[in-house]
C-alpha cells in the first residue's frame, strides 16, 4: 500500500503528521453468476500523529521544508522559529524573534524559508531577519517596507526575495545587496523614498551594487521611482480604471511560477485579482490581470510547471486558474471553511497526476486530484483550525510484479511540480543518501 505523509500546523501549536495510505488495487476476479462477490478489502484509515501540547501562544503561522528537506521549519505566534526533525518532531534548533504589537493587533510572520545555513523570516511590519543556523547570535535584520502580507524566497536563488502587501507593490529584493548595505551603513536615520522605508547606504556602495543588478528595467524607471537599494524589481500599479480612479493595491499572496529563475511571479490581491508579472520582459505592469471570484485571495499554490495557479478565497472557494490567459480552469469543491493553506505535489516522480492538498478552517485536510474531474480523494478530520500544510514523504507500494522500475523509493517530494531535468539531477544527488535509509531496497534505473 502506498502511503503519503503530510505535516500540518494549526492554531493550537500542534504539528500533526497525517499518513494517508492508498489501498492496494485488487483486480476484480470474474465471479460466477450465482456466487456472492468477494468482499473488497477494508479501506485504510488515515493515521494522525500529534506533536506538541495545545497552546494558543504557540500557534503555527508558517511552516515549510528546509531546502534539503531534512528539517521542518515552523514559525509560531510567540516569535519562536523552530527546526523540527521530521521523524519525531523533536526541536533541533530554535530561535526567538520578537513579534511586537501594533496598537492592538499582533504582528504575524508572513514569510519563512530555511536553507542549510540560514533561516529567513519576515513579519508583517517588514522586518526581514536572516538568521544563521550555525551561529545563534548572527542575525541580519533588514527592512522591506511596512504592511507586508507575504514574503517568499525563490526556491533556487536563495538571495532573491519577493514581497507584497497593503499598498506595497510586488518588489523583488536581492538579499546579498541589502545585507551588504546594512553592514557598511553608518547609523543614520532612514529616509523615505516614495512609499518605501528602506535604509539608504552611503555613497561608495550603491555604485557597486547598481552594476551588479540587471540593467534593463532600471533604465526605464522614472527618476522619482528609483529602485531603493537591494531592490531588483518593483511593480507598477495597473492603469486607472474606467472611472479614471487609481486602482487600490493590496497584494495578499505571492508565488514564483518558475523554479529556475525569477521570470514569472503570480500575485493574488484582496480585490480578487490574480496578476502575473513577467520580470524578464522588463514591463513593470502585470502581463496578465484577471478578476476571479468576489472575495479576497487567501492563499496560493503553484500548479503544474508554472502554467497553473491554485488559490483560495475567503468564502470557501478554491479556484484553479491558467497563468497564461487568466482564465479559470476549474473549481475544487467540497470545502466548508476557508482553505488556509494549499500545496500541490506529484506522488510519483514521473508524469503521474498532480494532487492538491489543502488544509482549511473547517478542521479538515483534503486531497484532490488535479485532473479534469478535480475529484476529492481523501478528507481527514483533524479537530483544530489548521493554518499550514507541508507535503512529506511518499512511500510507493510494493510492486506485485516488477512493473515499477525506475521509481525511487522514499523520495521526499517537492511542493511544486518539476521538470524532467530536475528529476535526473535529484536522482543522482539522492543516490548517495539512500544508503543511509533502512527502507526497502530498490533497483535504480541507470540511464
Amino acid at each position: 500500500m502506498s502511503s503519503q505523509r503530510f505535516y500540518t500546523g494549526d492554531e493550537q501549536g500542534l504539528v500533526k503528521v497525517v499518513t494517508i495510505t492508498e489501498p492496494v488495487v485488487v483486480k476484480p476476479k470474474r465471479v460466477r453468476r450465482n456466487q456472492p462477490a468477494p468482499e473488497a478489502p477494508p479501506k485504510p484509515v488515515p493515521t494522525v500523529e500529534t506533536w506538541g501540547i495545545p497552546d494558543r501562544e504557540k500557534a503555527v503561522q508558517m511552516m515549510c521544508w528546509d531546502f534539503e528537506k531534512k528539517h521542518l521549519a515552523v514559525a509560531r505566534k510567540n516569535g519562536l522559529v523552530q527546526l523540527l526533525d521530521p521523524k519525531d518532531g523533536t526541536v533541533t534548533t530554535e530561535f526567538k524573534h520578537t513579534l511586537g504589537k501594533e496598537g492592538k493587533v499582533d504582528n504575524i510572520f508572513v514569510g519563512l524559508f530555511a536553507s542549510s545555513e540560514s533561516i529567513i523570516t519576515c513579519t508583517n511590519t517588514g522586518r526581514l531577519v536572516v538568521q544563521s543556523i550555525a551561529d545563534h547570535s548572527k542575525a541580519t535584520v533588514l527592512e522591506v517596507g511596512k504592511d507586508i502580507c507575504r514574503m517568499r524566497v525563490h526556491p533556487r536563488e536563495h538571495h532573491i526575495v519577493a514581497t507584497g502587501g497593503k499598498e506595497q507593490e510586488l518588489t523583488l529584493w536581492d538579499l546579498k545587496a541589502l545585507c551588504k548595505d546594512t553592514e557598511e551603513e553608518t547609523p543614520e536615520p532612514s529616509t523615505k523614498k516614495g512609499k518605501k522605508n528602506s535604509k539608504k547606504a552611503p555613497a561608495p556602495a550603491p555604485a557597486k551594487e547598481m552594476e551588479k543588478k540587471a540593467g534593463g528595467p532600471e533604465a526605464r524607471y522614472k527618476s522619482k521611482d528609483i529602485l531603493a537599494n537591494g531592490q531588483i524589481f518593483k511593480a507598477k500599479n495597473v492603469k486607472n480604471d474606467y472611472l479614471d480612479l487609481r486602482v487600490p493595491v493590496w497584494n495578499t499572496d505571492v508565488q514564483f511560477l518558475n523554479q529556475y529563475d525569477t521570470s514569472r511571479i503570480a500575485v493574488g490581491t484582496r480585490n480578487h485579482q490574480i496578476r502575473v508579472y513577467d520580470i524578464k520582459s522588463g514591463a513593470r505592469r502585470p502581463a496578465v490581470d484577471a478578476e476571479v471570484g468576489e472575495m479576497p485571495v487567501v492563499a496560493m499554490a503553484n500548479g503544474k510547471d508554472g502554467s497553473e495557479i491554485v488559490f483560495s478565497d475567503t468564502v470557501t472557494n478554491v479556484y484553479s486558474i491558467d497563468t497564461l490567459t487568466g482564465a479559470i480552469i476549474g473549481q475544487y469543491k467540497g470545502f466548508t471553511g476557508v482553505a488556509t493553506a494549499l500545496a500541490t505535489f506529484i506522488p510519483f516522480e514521473d508524469d503521474s497526476t498532480a494532487h492538491l492538498v489543502t488544509v482549511a478552517m473547517d478542521r479538515c485536510l483534503r486531497v484532490h486530484e488535479m485532473t479534469k474531474t478535480r475529484k476529492l480523494l481523501h478528507k481527514v478530520y483533524l479537530k483544530q483550525r489548521m493554518t499550514a500544510v507541508v507535503v512529506g514523504e511518499y512511500a510507493p507500494a510494493e510492486p506485485t510484479e516488477d512493473e515499477e522500475d525506475g521509481v525511487v523509493s522514499n523520495k521526499k517530494k517537492r511542493t511544486e511540480g518539476e521538470g524532467d531535468d530536475e528529476n535526473d539531477d535529484d536522482l543522482w544527488e539522492s543516490m548517495g543518501k539512500l544508503e543511509d535509509k533502512k527502507n526497502k531496497k530498490r533497483k535504480l534505473a541507470k540511464e
Binding site: 495545545p54 475567503t314 466548508t336 471553511g337 476557508v338 483550525r385
Partner: protein, 299 residues
Amino acid sequence: MVEINTIKNKLKREELYQKQKNAKAKSKRDRRTTLQKEESSNPEKKEKRLAENVPNTLENTREFDETIVEEDAEVAADEATDEFSQYFQNGLTPKILITTSKGPSASVYEFATELVDIFPNTHFVKRKPQFEMKHIIEFSKNRDFTDIMVINEDRKEPNGLTLIHLPDGPTAHFKLSSIQLSKDIEGHGRTSSHKPELILNNFNTRLGHTIGRMFTALFPHVPEFQGRQVATLHNQRDFIFFRRHRYVFKNAKRVNLQELGPRFTLKLKWLQKGTFDRKGEHEWMFKPEMETSRRRFFL
C-alpha cells in the same frame, strides 16, 4: 380474486375497493386487540416488541459525522482557551447590544422588544444610518459589551439574525423563521425578571459545540430557580428551535409547562472567525452543494 384496477365499471370498482379497505382495517384492528390482550397480561412481551420495532427516522439514520465530539482531550483543551473563555473561565457577565439593519419596520421593533426581554442585561439601540457595522463593533467594545445581535429584515419581516461575540469572537449569521410573538401564543404566561435556566439540546458536532457555547455566553451564569423560567435551544436537523417556558411541579411525577415569550427558529448560514467583516475568513459557510444527502447534518 380479480384485480380491482382491471374493472372498468366505476361503481363496481368503488364497491370492491371499499370492501378491500374495510377488510384490511378489520384485520389490523383484530391483530391489535389480540396483541393488547396478550400484552396486558404479559408486559415483557410489550417491551420486547418495542425494543425490536424501532422505526428509522432521519435522526437515527444520520450519516456518520466524524466531527461529533465525544470526550476528547484535544477538543477540551481547545475549548478551554477559545474565544468564550472569558465567559466560561473568568465568569464575565454578558452584556448584549441589540440593533437592527438600516431603516427597519415595525415588526422588527416588536421582535427586538421580545429579544430584550429574553436575555437579561440587554440594551436596544436604534440603528443610525451614518454608522457601519465596524463602527458599531468598535463602539460596543469601548463600552464593554460582550455580544451584539443584529436583526436583519426583508419585506417588512425579520428574517436574519447576526450574532457577534466581542471582543474578537466569532460571528454567526442565522436565518430567522417561524417567529411567533408572545401575544400571538394562546395561553402564554407573563415573564418576570428572573434569570432563566438554559437547555441546549443536540449540539453534537464540533461546529455545534461552538454555536452552543455562543448561545450559552448570552445568558448569565447562575439562573434564579425561584423564577422557574427556562429557555430552550433545541437543535434538530440543523434547525435550532427557541422556546421559553415556565414550569411548575404538580407532584413528584408531573410537571406542567406554560409557554412564555416568543418562538422562533434559527438556521446557521455561516460562521466567521473574528468580528464581522465582509471580507473576513469564514470558518463554516453553508452552500447548497453541501446538501448531498437528506441524512447529513452539520450542527
